[in-house]
Amino acid sequence: MKHIQGSSLTGYVTVFVKGIQPELFFQRCSEQDIIVWNVEKKSENVCSGNVKLQDISRVKHIKRGTDYKLSFKNKRGFPFMMKKFTRKKEILVGLLLSILLIFFLSNIIWEIKITGVPKDIEEKISEQLTQYGVHQGTWSFTLDSPSEIQQNLINDIPELLWVGVQQKGTSFLLEGVEKTIVEEDEVEGPRNLVATKKGVIENMYVSKGLPQVQVNDYVEPGDVLVSGKIQFTNDEQTDDDGEEEDEAYELIAAEGEVIARTWYETEVTVPLKTNYEQLTGDSETKYHLKMLGAEFPVWGFGNPEYKDIHRERHEKDLYFFKWKLPITFMETILSEKTYHEAERSKEEAIDVGIKQAKNELQLRLGPEAEIISENILQETTENGKVKLILYMAVEENIVKYEPIDQGD
């Protein structure tokens, strides 16, 4: 029976043979290696039997030159089913539409879930997300990648310490962590104010404690600026009768600000020749569908007539239900760019160098420090670069809290 296995997949036909001794027709067929099964004699002159679809042309060939009449009925099997199915246009169109619908629905963001943050920040986040275009009912492939959204959110909402953005099928999951403003770790209890850097004191604002230095004093790191140990005068001590002489002082937490002038030496090198690229603002966007490594353009044909092109590519995955399709949606932004080559004079280079050094220093010291003056100690020009050694004076707070060891 294995000979007729799979015939329902490849298709078979019931052949009715009419003529004198119709069974002999099937005998001829089997002589030609055609498998015939379920042969039945319907009447004296009619015989029916099943024949595989692929053998039909040979059956017709055998029939030639004989007096038999063939008729094919009961077409069965997958090929015939497909034929019947494709003939019904409505079903085909309906099927296509439903697949398209599911495809569209699979690529829409249906839910945005924000967890881990209080209500007010949640609202802020969802507001920001709407600005980025992330809201219910948007196409997921028009959105930026989750990591970009994550970065933007952290930049735009200062209250957020961290946010995890995850796209899970049709929903966006955001998990936020709020920044808790930690009180500055102050040394509790008695403490001194100590210098962190060497410098000349410009100003002192002491609210608590005993100043140990004066304006225009030079201090080294570790020098006590304001002491938290207050000695009582003898008069006061006599008031506290019965107190021992060892305890003739009180320990307090010193507090204050000491602004000192400090110095920094920095080195910068500035090239005399610079190259930079600039986008002219003209751009074109192209869309492709990428399938199995090949790209098919969807929108935007031909190349723009730009001399130099800056390409930016974004790849978006497409989904069908939860399955990632092997097709990705590619967006390519072609922007025109121009190369600029500039040469600057030595003076300009020095200016740029000073500015650069100032910025760097300011970044290092924080916004409270103030750069007062800068001097060029040394300048050399070699290999098309200007090397500067700068000397900068800064006014900044040099206070550090240091607990007083009470020796217990």
């Binding site: 029976m1 000979h3 001794q21 002999l24 099937f26 002589e31 498998i35 099964w37 004699k41 039997g49």
Partner: protein, 93 residues
């Protein structure tokens, strides 16, 4: 030459117990109760109807009679017959 082969055939199958259908090109008829008859090594169908099947073999014909016959399968030298079998008859030429 052919005679010699024909004479050695029965001898071989007798003394070496080789299958005689292979040695002597005889048809092999297998029956399952009254339901099925499986005939191999036949040489063509001559008559087939609802009640009768006649096959040619190398030494005459095999005639099977019964009722409601259906040929379940037809291959070049094999036939599987289904139906209500009453009689299997060998008709010498």
């Amino acid at each position: 030459m052919k005679k010699w082969q024909q004479r050695i055939g029965p001898w071989l199958s007798k003394y070496f117990s080789l299958p005689s259908d292979v040695m002597m090109e005889l048809p092999r008829v297998t029956m399952i109760g009254q339901l099925h008859v499986y005939i191999e090594n036949h040489q063509g169908l001559t008559v087939y109807s609802d009640t009768e099947l006649k096959l040619k073999s190398n030494k005459g014909y095999i005639q099977i009679s019964g009722s409601s016959f259906v040929l379940k399968m037809m291959l070049p030298e094999e036939i599987l017959l289904e139906g209500n079998i009453e009689e299997v008859k060998f008709i010498p030429e």
